[in-house]
């Protein structure tokens, strides 16, 4: 009888331990994901894996979003870093919140022509489009191509 009580007690302890263990595991890390929309990926020991709402994140984890996705990385100290689509962010601890927020960066770099456009809209045409216009200044024949046109300009001989 005593053995049976001991076995039941041991069972309760084991059950309690297994319930507590995930809770403790869930508190590992320094931040968690909030407002997950679309595909959010986290760097793990064996590479990228999907992250979900409230997933805990350890230091040096990289958070990556894909197209039409966004997420907020919420540090335990309250700092929130918002990632828009196609951005990445590495979870670090030794920086002020403003620096962390500024660290979220787009992975897909805009081409040089775009940057030039933003810097000087009026210069874009002369520096970038000019070659295209240069091609076009050869005339419509460049666009229309060589060879006879199906339509011929005609005039009566009379």
């Amino acid at each position: 009888m005593k053995t049976r009580h001991l076995a039941i007690a041991a069972g309760f302890i084991a059950a309690a331990a297994t319930a507590i263990a995930p809770a403790q595991q869930a508190r590992e890390g320094v931040a968690q994901l909030k407002g997950v929309k679309g595909n959010v990926l986290l760097s793990r020991q064996t590479g990228l894996a999907a992250g979900g709402e409230a997933t805990r994140i350890t230091e040096h984890t990289r958070v990556i979003t894909t197209a039409n996705s966004e997420v907020v990385v919420v540090y335990d100290n309250g700092c929130e870093v918002r990632l828009k689509e196609n951005q990445r962010f590495e979870v670090e601890m030794d920086k002020p919140c403003a620096a962390l927020i500024a660290q979220a960066q787009s992975v897909l770099v805009e081409p040089a022509g775009t940057a030039l456009n933003a810097a000087s809209a009026s210069a874009v045409f002369f520096w970038v489009v000019l070659p295209a216009v240069g091609v076009s200044t050869l005339g419509a024949n460049v666009l229309l191509g060589p060879g006879p046109s199906p339509q011929t300009l005609s005039l009566s001989p009379s």
Partner: protein, 396 residues
């Protein structure tokens, strides 16, 4: 004597008349008695000038003669009469808004004016309706795209899912255009499942060859279906459960004919493996050509352990095969950073592993199964090699 000279003179006059008849009826005038004048293909700036009076006479007879209108517009433009030129171009477009020559000539005119939005809209219609005009118009569109001219116009084209965008992406990419400029056009097509593997592959490959690995990887990630993003891993699809797409950072299985390559690569169902399938490379005992299996990976600098399951079966001829990880810089494969044990002879499934240290100057890598000695000369291999559960794990 006089009679002979007379005959010769008559003959000469006859020939002259015959030549003139041929010239008038075949060369100068068409079968309807209409004079043949230069076609619109010569409407450009460098085209010979046409008499405006002549053009007006044509238009008096037929006010809907759009080619004459284009010529007239060209002449007014040449003379510096911008208002009349515009009126003539607009009239031609109003009369024949889907005519190939009108679309091309008016688009060209707007390009000269710097009215890029109008030009893009016309070029859109031109390449949409006339695929044969794409080779000429795509480079112009490419320059406009690179210049970020009229993003709203491009957004409208992307939104209406124009059929020419796919060929435009592929051709522009192959002609060396900055692939980053093409990504905004590609991603909506990926979302709609309309992007072809060649479009994706070209953009990812060009970025990777330019050592823009992070961008290349990001573009490729965007092309994966949601269900595959659950566990991408450093080695993608290391258990070979999914069919290889052969694009980006997916497995690239040799598609060469067995008689050319000396091997066959498959991912059949197999017993005793992780999941349902495994990689099987069958070597036919003949001379080996090329790498049977490879995958680009994008590892940050650091230490890793590569592991997997292997089962060599009767690998007799040759020195066997091994997995290698090599740096890739500017599209060039470098000497191996590390390699696995050699797989020779026969064994049951067994686990193998090896460590890799990725240096700082190694922007991206190539994981591949190599017949030993392939780089040194002729290699003959027989037997079968099975692999499964390939994983790269970061070591702290």
């Amino acid at each position: 004597m006089n009679a002979a000279a007379l005959r010769a003179g008559v003959l000469a006059v006859g020939l002259l008349l015959a030549w003139r008849i041929v010239q008038v009826n075949v060369v100068l005038y068409d079968e309807n008695g209409q004079a043949r004048l230069p076609a619109t293909a010569a409407t450009g700036v460098n085209a010979p000038s046409l008499d405006r009076e002549l053009l007006h006479r044509v238009l008096d007879r037929n006010p809907g003669h759009v080619v004459a209108l284009l010529h007239l517009a060209r002449e007014h433009e040449r003379a510096g009469d911008a208002q009349k030129a515009r009126q003539a171009y607009d009239a031609a477009y109003a009369l024949a808004p889907l005519d190939r020559d009108v679309l091309g000539a008016v688009a060209d005119y707007y390009l000269r004016l710097g009215s890029n939005a109008e030009a893009i809209a016309l070029l859109d219609r031109l390449v949409d309706a006339y695929p044969d005009a794409r080779a000429l118009a795509f480079p112009v569109l490419g320059k406009l795209l690179l210049a970020h001219a009229q993003p709203a116009a491009w957004s409208a084209i992307a939104a209406r899912k124009a059929a020419w965008i796919g060929p435009f992406i592929e051709l522009s990419c192959r002609q060396g255009m900055d692939p980053a400029a093409l990504v905004p056009l590609l991603l909506p097509r990926v979302a709609d499942r309309r992007a072809a593997a060649d479009e994706i592959g070209c953009i990812v490959d060009h970025m990777r060859d330019a050592d823009r690995w992070a961008e290349a990887y990001q573009v490729w990630l965007n092309t994966l279906p949601r269900e595959r993003l659950g566990d991408v891993g450093f080695v993608y699809n290391g258990s070979f459960e999914f069919a290889s797409g052969g694009v980006g950072f997916d497995w690239r299985l040799s598609r060469a004919r067995e008689r050319d390559s000396g091997h066959v690569v498959e991912t059949p169902q197999a017993a005793g493996v992780t999941g349902q399938r495994a990689l099987r490379v069958s070597f036919n005992g003949k001379r080996q050509a090329g790498i049977p299996v490879m995958q680009y990976v994008a590892l940050e600098p650091g230490r890793y352990e590569m592991s997997g399951l292997a089962r060599p079966q009767s690998i007799t001829a040759g020195r066997g095969v091994q997995w290698t990880l090599r740096c890739v810089k500017q599209g060039q494969v470098q000497p191996a950073l590390a390699n696995s044990e050699r797989f020779v002879g026969s064994s049951e499934w067994r686990r193998f592993s090896f460590e890799v240290a990725v240096p700082n100057d190694c922007p991206g890598q190539l994981l591949q199964l190599e017949p030993l000695g392939l780089a040194d000369g002729t290699v003959y291999l027989a037997g079968t090699a099975w692999f499964d559960d390939l994983v790269l794990r970061r070591l702290r």
